[in-house]
């Protein structure tokens, strides 16, 4: 029986963002933008979707008078990511 792939994660940019955040404690928006080679606008939209799904936490602060957006994966995000990878692996075995 096929496991359903989480539609929130089964998109290139959102999966890239979650994969980056799974291996770090927290990351700046600019760092994610650089590593995913995405535009600020598109990334902003996808981060919002992940945030609404409860998969990441987004905090906004200031550093040296510049806005700083920090992203961190939530326990729900980790669970969803693990389920997604398990589902992918079950597909690959077939």
């Amino acid at each position: 029986m096929f496991k359903d792939l989480d539609p929130i994660l089964h998109s290139q940019l959102r999966l890239a963002v979650i994969s980056l955040l799974i291996s770090v404690k927290e990351a700046e928006f600019t760092f994610i933008k650089e590593k995913t080679n995405s535009s600020a606008g598109n990334l902003s939209v996808q981060i919002n979707k992940l945030k609404e799904a409860g998969y990441i936490n987004v905090t906004k602060q200031f550093r040296d008078n510049y806005p700083l957006t920090m992203c961190r994966i939530t326990p729900e995000g980790i669970t969803a990511f693990e389920k997604y990878v398990n589902a992918l692996q079950s597909y690959m075995k077939l």
Binding site: Q12, L13, L20, I22, S23, T30, N37, V85, L88, M92
Partner: protein, 223 residues
């Protein structure tokens, strides 16, 4: 990267996941300034102490006070590096604790040594006054191995955790010197301590600095 609408196959998804995890792992390069600072400070302290013993003179102040002074630039470097880091990894947090534990252990070891030396010194003086010659056991001869033992631990862990061979080998070098210094006199001990500091910290610091500059250069080329 393509837009969010791009549909991925299972293979592509797994490839993307591993690619992103690797990118996160190689995200930040330390400036290496802290490692160079401590490598230089410990080497200088050991060599000055060695020259004091060899040329029989006393420096105007205890040269090891330099290590306390070095804490100030170290705090500045740490705060600056933390501010520059666009990402906080679990490895960083783990290594921060390892080096904090190392700092506390060194402080405790200095305290233990001072306490033991304080207790032993009157016995040695009395022995000399009674027998006319110095005691065969000299506590100062056995201090260096303990320090080298401690120097090796965080260096080896950092090298292994960051897959950074110069530090990994540096840690092993400290432990080899630790064994050797058990059997050598204080002059050789101090010389090996200076070598250890250079090989375990100063030289890896130079490599880190080089990697950092190259990473910065590449970043600029991509902008």
């Amino acid at each position: 990267m393509a837009t969010e609408e791009t549909v991925l196959t299972e293979k592509e998804s797994l490839a993307l996941i591993s690619q992103m995890i690797n990118k996160a792992k190689n995200a930040y390069h330390s400036t290496g300034v802290g490692a160079m600072l401590w490598g230089a400070v410990i080497a200088i302290c050991s060599l000055v102490k060695l020259s004091e013993i060899h040329f029989n003179y006393t420096f105007p102040f205890d040269i090891y006070l330099l290590t306390l002074l070095a804490i100030i630039p170290q705090i500045y470097i740490s705060v600056k590096e933390k501010k520059q880091k666009p990402v906080k990894s679990y490895d960083d947090i783990f290594l921060d604790y390892v080096w904090l534990a190392f700092g506390i252990s060194i402080f405790l070891l200095v305290h233990i040594n001072a306490s033991v030396f304080g207790s032993w010194e009157p016995v040695a003086v009395e022995y000399k006054s009674l027998t006319g010659h110095s005691a065969a056991f000299r506590f100062s001869e056995f201090v260096s191995p303990f320090f080298l033992l401690l120097y090796g631990m965080p260096t080896f862990i950092t090298g292994a955790a960051c897959k950074f061979k110069p530090m990994l080998y540096g840690g092993i070098f400290c432990w080899l010197c630790c064994i050797v210094t058990v059997y050598t006199n204080i002059k050789i001990d101090l010389l090996l301590t200076a070598f250890s500091a250079i090989i375990a910290w100063f030289i890896p610091g130079l490599f880190m600095e080089k990697e950092y500059r190259m990473a910065k250069k590449q970043e600029k080329m991509h902008v």
